[in-house]
């Protein structure tokens, strides 16, 4: 039930309300080694990331697009055992700009 429920909720619609200053061509988070994700059984980042930046592709690869990132840090923490997320804050002034926070 959980997975279907996640698909029903349109998180893009939520993110659309937010203000971002995207640092084009300079994503602040990287997957260090794509093979580690391929071998990762759980791929928890693909449902825990609150901005759905991580997507599980059919061939077991995980793709990351940081444009909607809310800069919470969850992906880095949940990947602690693999340490496969290179996580930095965006350059000054870039990324999410909370209007209300």
């Amino acid at each position: 039930m959980g997975v279907d429920m996640n698909a029903v909720v349109n998180v893009e619609e939520k993110l659309f309300q937010n203000r971002y200053k995207v640092d084009h061509g300079r994503p602040h988070i990287h997957i260090k080694d794509a093979q580690v994700c391929n071998n990762c059984e759980s791929q928890e980042c693909t449902y825990i990331c609150p901005a759905a930046c991580y997507k599980a592709e059919g061939n077991r690869t995980v793709t990351l697009i940081t444009d909607g990132c809310l800069e919470c840090g969850s992906c880095r923490v949940i990947c602690k055992e693999h340490a496969n997320v290179a996580w930095e804050y965006p350059r000054g002034g870039h990324g999410i700009l909370f209007k209300f926070g």
Binding site: C72, G92, G93, F98, G101
Partner: protein
């Protein structure tokens, strides 16, 4: 930027602003560095402001701080899928100044707080991310920013850089966060006419209500939901321990929980018609006493969420942030007045101040709480169902005698947890709270 400061404060949230304000007010030369476009643009909170902690820093804050509503009523709801059992505490005393706490909107509040910091004389630089600490052996000498020529030096660096504590981790002062020690919370802000809020929550023009919720909405994960009334908006959110998100067999996303909370039959009518204008997510350090790292060293101090200063049992964080920021600043001010170097030996006084304050006393009091809750998912699924079932049995009139109903209720509890389980759970909770 080659000049040297008495202190550099990294971050312009409640802890950083409290530290920078206190330092600048005492005449120290302070540089504060914030990565957001303006202070508050990277900050997320429910948000409740507890007056006391701010009053000790800016006594007359009520004169011009952007406050939404003072809270006159606290509701605690235990939800199952269709209903809730709740306690409400509302008092006329809470409707008389000076008010004890307020709802705030952090982007506005932090901007205001920052204006006070600058008035006090601190130099603020925004849109600048600190990349790392400049070390000389074990001693912090300054910071490197993501600007050209961005090396700045100071006698002491106060790390108010938030829950991810990036700088202290990079410097090796402490390790990566544990998923079992942080909660992931998501929330939305929903705008609606002020009159609608007054009618729905039975409040006046400036008074408000907070609702804290636990129950089946978190699928047995340790977590809570919340609904706060702002002036012309509501904030609704839900957060659960990150480790529980990881181990949840349903693999439920945080935004799915939020949608489910919004659709709950007891909540949907309260938020109906609200226009969603922002969606936020944030980690909350809820590991408590045992998760607080070393918070001082040669040339550095850690304050606020960066040091894990959150009392999860009482939903308090920003007041601990402000208090730790103030105490760190006072430590630096005293050391400077005494002409001492900012060594770990000198800055140990900060830890002593923390231990003497409500901050570490409260964290110590609830030190076992995270572990107890973590090992007791029944508090977040079985008990909410039992409690709501009991209420329904008790309050539904259907020609069944009350004695039979009581037996039915007790039977439902025994069947779910057995008597030994019930006694054990009560004992665990009592131990964790006492």
């Amino acid at each position: 930027m080659a000049e040297k400061f008495d202190a550099i404060v990294v971050g312009a949230g409640p802890s950083g602003n409290s530290a920078a304000y206190t330092l600048a007010k005492a005449g120290l030369k302070v540089l504060q560095i914030e990565r957001g476009e303006y202070p508050g643009s990277k900050n997320v909170q429910g948000a409740i402001l507890y007056s006391d902690a701010l009053e000790r820093i800016i006594p007359d804050f009520r004169e011009d701080a952007p406050l939404e509503r003072h809270i006159i009523e606290q509701r605690i709801w235990v939800l199952d899928d269709k209903s809730f059992v709740g306690t409400h505490y509302r008092s006329e005393d809470y409707d008389k100044p000076p008010y004890n706490r307020y709802t705030i909107i952090r982007a506005q509040f932090d901007k205001w707080f920052s204006s006070k910091v600058r008035e006090a004389g601190a130099l603020l630089i925004c849109e600048t991310t600190v990349e790392e600490l400049l070390m000389d052996g074990n001693t912090v000498r300054g910071v490197r920013c993501d600007r050209i020529g961005g090396e700045v030096y100071a006698d002491v660096v106060i790390l108010a850089d938030g829950v991810n504590s990036t700088l202290a981790r990079k410097a090796g002062f402490h390790g990566e966060l544990d998923a079992g020690n942080v909660a992931l919370a998501v929330k939305e802000i929903l705008f609606m006419p002020e009159e609608t809020i007054r009618e729905r929550f039975n409040v006046g023009e400036e008074s408000g209500v907070v609702i804290e919720m636990m129950g089946t909405v978190t699928e047995g994960m340790v977590g809570t939901g919340f609904l706060y009334t702002n002036k012309d908006s509501l904030t609704i959110g839900v957060g659960c321990m990150l480790s529980d998100f990881k181990s949840n067999p349903n693999r439920t996303s945080p935004y799915t929980l939020l949608e489910r909370l919004k659709k709950h039959p007891s909540i949907a009518p309260l938020i109906a018609g609200g226009e969603m204008k922002e969606y936020c997510a944030h980690l909350i350090p809820e590991g408590g006493f045992h998760a607080v790292p070393t918070v001082y060293g040669d040339g550095w101090l850690i304050v606020g969420d960066s040091g894990g200063f959150v009392n999860a049992a009482h939903r308090e964080g920003s007041n601990l942030a402000m208090t730790t920021g103030r105490l760190a600043a006072e430590t630096v001010i005293e050391a400077k007045a005494a002409g001492k170097d900012m060594t770990a030996k000198t800055l140990r006084a900060y830890k002593d101040k923390l231990d003497e304050s409500f901050v570490m006393k409260d964290l110590h009091k609830y030190r076992d709480m995270p572990q107890v809750l973590h090992s007791s998912p029944q508090f977040f699924s079985a008990y909410p169902r039992l409690l709501n079932g009991a209420a329904k049995t008790l309050f539904t009139v259907e020609g069944v005698d009350k004695k039979t109903k009581e037996r039915e209720i007790f039977g439902s509890f025994k069947a779910a947890r057995r008597v030994s389980g019930l006694v054990g759970d009560a004992f665990k909770l009592w131990r964790a709270f006492r």
